[in-house]
Amino acid sequence: MRHIISILIENEAGALSRVAGLFSARGYNIESLTVAVTEDASLSRMTIVTSGSESIIEQINKQLNKLVDVVKVADITEGAHIERELMMVKVDAKEAASRDELQRLADIFKGRIVDVSDNIFTVELTGEGEKLDSFLKALNDVSIIETVRSGATGIARGKKALQV
């Protein structure tokens, strides 16, 4: 099963490698990992998408909690939550037809064209992973030059929050 694990960790040098090292040393999967500082500059928030049996996910939770720098851990897939990923796609649209097609697709997927130069267009898109996959699929006739995805990040719905 796919799980999204949110971690609050001391914003210190080496914090990321402690978490990444734990996953590789114990053979846990990392589908994606994102990290950035929070509104409290002393804390970073990390989101890891992983998969495994219930007992593996339980161990991941416990092992993360055991890291001295980790302040809090939550599996946000346990409850209602919102998941988002950012993607930017650079495409080559020489033909007028493919430019129209691109604009139309971007509109349907609520994306935005954020850069245009010569015939090169860059589209920005936010959503759940599946939506981003569908967009890439829909682009079939337009030739993709480059794709970059942030990896998923997420937050619980309602009052539930990961805080100190």
């Binding site: 960790i9 001391e10 040098a13 080496g14 490698s17 402690r18 090292g21 040393a25 007992s55 339980e58 161990q59 416990k62 092992q63 909690n65 055991k66 001295v68 720098d69 980790v70 302040v71 100190v164």
Partner: protein, 586 residues
């Protein structure tokens, strides 16, 4: 220190002053470029004694032996680069057995970090997977607090080694700052659970009192938590059989009537059979290691399991349990005993009587028998005689292999912290330096290192350290000219193809000991064993290196092979004990 007598100290001096403030007696170490400022601070004081080893691995094992035998953290000081990498084996050894160590590693000057400078390695990166935590100190102002944190983290919760990496420039004697050692600490991300959950404790007691075939399985956590007394009281209160892991030996006295000895791969027949047949297992400060459980699918097939451990990640890691209790073993045992008294139910004595009868049947097989009429010295015999000569009262350290198992099986430990060995990592070379650390901590105690001719050569250089500090440990070397455990596996599982396990060129150990300034003895007849041991232990001020020429073909029994369960042991041929009560149980 109070505000009016604040002193100004350099970074190097702060490191040493912090050790004093932590009450550290000994630092085990080896100097080098990056730690010269710290060594200069050591030179100018006499409160903390530095023990100069001959290899950094020796420093970590000696500090580890000190820690295991006292319960206090061991302290190591090594230089950057190779100093730090040589220490890694000892750090990993301490990590797997949850031993509190503070390892101070020098680092190249801050400005050079990342430039592949002379003797530079990423010590924090290299040590990360085998420490409880580590620090790179960046400013002289942070040294005192980091030291405080290091000691706190190493010694609380599930203990473990902490590395503090200190760049040379922040120890500069020219830069002095006010020194204040913090009295209290609050690490918001680190709060180990000490008290067990009351509801879980009640549930556990209900299970315990309903048991018909109970079993207590205790481990090193009992020793780390100083809970030997509480474990003894708990066990005797119930009259339940108890087995202990390699790491837990001595927490419950081996001579106690409830003791079934060690369990696991080389555990006793009665302990392993009782594990297999029990209906209620109380695991206390033990982590269901693969050497203990055997094949997981065959592990305790009939049992409800209660697991007490301070580390939540130990629970349900290998074996799913029915009642987990996270907390310090000592606290939880006190609570369990209290709750047992309050509960109106009492243990089922009739069922217990029947269970003990079954266990006595298994015991009668005498699984630890060996040929006492052999013309060759049997390694088991040496350990038994050692037990007699030392009145069962010695600190015993060991290396890793057959001799380690013979020590665990044939030297019954009645006290905690008496048995010092590398159980988790299985580090050959551990025994001698660990013995030095034990002897330093217990100047008047009898300390013996049971070793083999392969293991001892991995840290033999520490014989020189022993001479320098007058540490009269006794080395009991069981010399079978083979890496005995490797040879045993090759005999059993590789059709006796003894690939690279025979040691063709051995030194003359008697002369070797003598050249290091010690006494050497070689013993090759069973009749001489007791006399030689008596003579050696009478030399109270001397390190005596005893080279026992033993039977090359002796194997460790019982043995559980890979993929087998507790009830599927290899036994000595002539040993035919009672079988499992499986059929009745079904």
């Amino acid at each position: 220190m109070k505000g009016d007598d604040i002193v100004k100290l350099s970074g190097g001096e702060i490191v040493i002053q912090a050790l004093k403030d932590e009450g550290v007696e000994y630092v085990f170490g080896y100097p080098g470029g990056a730690v010269l400022h710290i060594y200069d601070a050591i030179y100018n004081q006499s409160d903390v004694e530095h023990i100069l080893v001959r290899h950094e691995q020796g420093a970590t094992h000696a500090a580890d032996g000190y820690a295991r035998s006292t319960g206090k953290p061991g302290v190591v000081l090594v230089t950057s680069g190779p100093g730090a990498t040589n220490a890694i084996t000892g750090i990993a050894t301490a990590h797997l057995d949850s031993i509190p160590l503070i390892v101070l590693t020098g680092q190249v000057t801050s400005a050079f970090i990342g430039s592949d400078a002379f003797q530079e390695v990423d010590s924090v990166g290299i040590s990360r997977p085998c420490v409880k935590h580590n620090f790179l100190v960046k400013r002289v102002e942070d040294i005192a607090e980091t030291m405080k944190k290091a000691f706190h983290i190493a010694t609380t919760g599930r203990p473990g080694p902490v590395v503090v990496d200190i760049p040379k420039d922040i120890t500069d004697p020219a830069i002095k700052i006010d020194y204040v050692y913090p009295e209290n600490l609050n690490i918001r991300s680190y709060n180990p659970t000490v008290q067990g959950n009351q509801r879980q404790i009640k549930k556990a007691v209900e299970l315990i009192l309903a048991a018909k075939r109970p079993m207590i399985y205790s481990g090193g956590g009992v020793i780390l938590s100083n809970a030997s007394e509480e474990l003894t009281a708990f066990t005797q209160q119930l009259g339940f059989p108890i087995t202990q892991t390699l790491m837990g030996l001595g927490a419950y006295p081996a001579s106690g009537k409830e003791s079934l000895g060690m369990l696991g791969m080389h555990g006793t027949y009665e302990a392993n059979m009782a594990m297999h047949d029990c209906d209620t297992l109380v695991a206390i400060g033990a982590r269901f290691d693969d050497r203990v459980t055997g094949e997981l699918e065959k592990f305790c097939p009939h049992a409800k399991i209660i697991h007490v451990d301070i580390d939540p990640s130990s629970i349900a890691k290998n074996v799913q349990v029915d009642v987990p209790i996270v907390g310090d073993v000592k606290h939880v045992l006190v609570e369990l005993s209290k709750e047992l008294k309050l509960n109106k139910n009492k243990p089922d004595t009739k069922a217990l009587e029947k269970w003990w009868k079954q266990i006595e049947g298994w015991k009668a097989g005498n699984c630890l028998r060996y040929d006492r009429n052999s013309a060759l010295i049997k390694p088991q015999f040496v350990v038994e005689e050692l037990h007699k000569v030392t009145n069962g009262d010695a600190f015993i350290t060991s290396d890793v292999g057959q001799h380690q198992m013979f020590a665990a099986q044939f030297y019954p430990f009645d006290k905690p912290r008496q048995w010092i060995n590398s159980g988790g990592l299985g580090t050959m070379g551990f025994g001698l330096p660990a013995a030095l650390g034990v002897q330093l901590a217990h100047k008047d105690a009898v300390v013996a290192c049971i070793t083999g001719e392969a293991s001892i050569q991995m840290c033999i250089q520490e014989l020189s350290t022993a001479l320098q500090y007058d540490l009269p440990v006794k080395i009991i070397m069981l010399n079978n000219r083979y890496m005995g455990m490797v040879r045993q596996w090759q005999e059993f599982f590789y059709e006796s193809r003894y690939s690279q396990s025979y040691l063709k060129a051995l030194p003359d150990f008697v002369k070797l000991a003598e050249s290091y300034g010690h006494v050497g003895m070689q013993i090759d007849k069973p009749a001489d064993v007791n006399g030689a041991l008596t003579e050696a232990f009478a030399m109270k001020d001397k390190l005596v290196f005893m080279d026992f020429i033993t039977d090359q073909t002796e194997n460790v029994y019982p043995m559980i092979a890979a993929g087998k369960g507790h009830h599927e042991m290899h036994l000595q041929e002539e040993c035919i004990p009672a079988q499992s009560s499986d059929r009745e149980l079904a």
